[in-house]
Symmetry: C2
Subunit: 343 residues, 2 copies
Amino acid sequence: MARVLNLITDIEGVLVGNATNFKLGSGVTVIVFDEPATASGAVLGGAPGGRDTALLDPSMTVGAVDAFVFSGGSAFGLDAAGGVQAGLREAGRGFPVGDVKVPIVPQAILMDLLNGGDKDWGLQSPYREMGYEAFKAATNGRFALGTIGAGAGATTASFKGGLGSASAVTNTGLKIAAIVAVNALGSATVGEGPHFWSAPFEQNAEFGGLGLPSLISDADTCMRLKGMNTAATTIGAIVTDAQLTKQEAHRLAIMGHDGFARALLPAHLPLDGDTVFAASTGKKPRPDLPAFLELCHFATTVMARAIARGVYEATALPVAGAQQAWQTRYPDRARSPKQGDIA
Amino acid sequence: MARVLNLITDIEGVLVGNATNFKLGSGVTVIVFDEPATASGAVLGGAPGGRDTALLDPSMTVGAVDAFVFSGGSAFGLDAAGGVQAGLREAGRGFPVGDVKVPIVPQAILMDLLNGGDKDWGLQSPYREMGYEAFKAATNGRFALGTIGAGAGATTASFKGGLGSASAVTNTGLKIAAIVAVNALGSATVGEGPHFWSAPFEQNAEFGGLGLPSLISDADTCMRLKGMNTAATTIGAIVTDAQLTKQEAHRLAIMGHDGFARALLPAHLPLDGDTVFAASTGKKPRPDLPAFLELCHFATTVMARAIARGVYEATALPVAGAQQAWQTRYPDRARSPKQGDIA
């Protein structure tokens, strides 16, 4: 029987590992594929930071990746993929070029350097080591959400951000899932209240089951930002078990960005480096057109759900001036996290 | 005093002209700038059709346009910009190159060849003439919405599509507005009911004032498409009077696409050629960063509103098998169109 953890690890052959440093107020999340996965991605934010992302364009030659990496640390965090590559090399993984194998590990970063954590790391950033650590910790089972991995240092305009994930099964039995580190300049909640913008797509009260407010006023939809500094960027990935082309994976990345637009107000600002990767493990057959269109639709809704879960599951960082968590502000509205109850 | 028509012509120096052929079930909309406007654009749908859109990339040399054209007719409709160029040339307009002037007229098309209209036009498509006609009809005042211009032949999954527009003023007094021809494969309304996805952003009951449903069920958020043919594509433009760079205009185009994602479920499918142009007339000063971020936010919300208005204002085409209009389905929920009542 298929596991239903409501996590991206519901997709066979997908492993997730996290490394978290609470004193640093940051961390690394790695998504590892047990075999190279057809992959693409799309950067729609205005201030991205990435590593090996150019190859994700459908016009480029390399079509499959070994892993995706999300990390905090802004551009310093780009060291993390190096640690993941070290782990993959140790495991004998990588794109074969003559006698060598080169692990293909696209990465995106988010900016969490201003969240109160201790960023005085000297000459050597901690991200490469955290990348290796996250790779070694990767599991194909349950993993925690919220203030962990690349979501550890994440914030939003209204509440502590975090790592979110969600999964779905289409009517034709294909699986699709999202994972996301939510660090938006905008807000995942409506106005000053507890309701998530993603509520229309919520499954089994996975982020509190509050629905939308009965009335959404102009005051609720005016722009709310965490500030004018650039401590922003939401990074996510969509993965399906359907066999897709690189072009089709690229489409899922765009559809995942629509999940950003549904879940965050606003998303994709000039100070957000919003990036979505997408991959196909290919362990299920190629979908026909209607089945692929439904995958596209689910890419949007599953990403919107994952974003809300990232904020809903977050806890405040143990540092001075840390941003409040949703569950601290609304303890009576929250339930204990219950992963794995999706139908 | 500034006019408040809740139309893109609320922006000084912006004219809109429409040409409509009900028998054909199609038409052309032209947005003309009284002076060359700094412009960019972004194609996020998977099946676009366009003309002179490559120059809109921020890396390209030409930075200003004379007009934007939206038309029906799928790739045949790309003749329309030729008619607009003829009108602009007649008016002495265009990018100077030595002794000649070349009118710069990016265009996007939507697919309305399967809507029941008479498409047997023989060797010469009617779109070039309609482009010229729309240009000559361009006004800086009130223009009709719904089944007109490029929205004439438009449809959606649930109701007749159409031409929509909406405008807003930011807290710093900058104007921003959208115009859009809504021909999505997906739906602008929630489930099988009358409520628009854009409701959180509605101003002054501009599309019926119904709000969102009190409960949005899983059945409401499952994928609804108008069919598996490719009669799709939503095309829009965002215009502001703030002085922007081409790079900043590009950001507004992306933010406008977030309005697609908020207003349509799903948007940006592989069969949608979803395209957003953006332009700055530059008649107001350059915004500082907070003011620009607010413009970005409004680009999303004003586009979401324009999309709902396009569907709300539409009437059925006078052809056999024409798709039902929202106001025909919900005559008791509709009010007579009252443009110009925005605060």
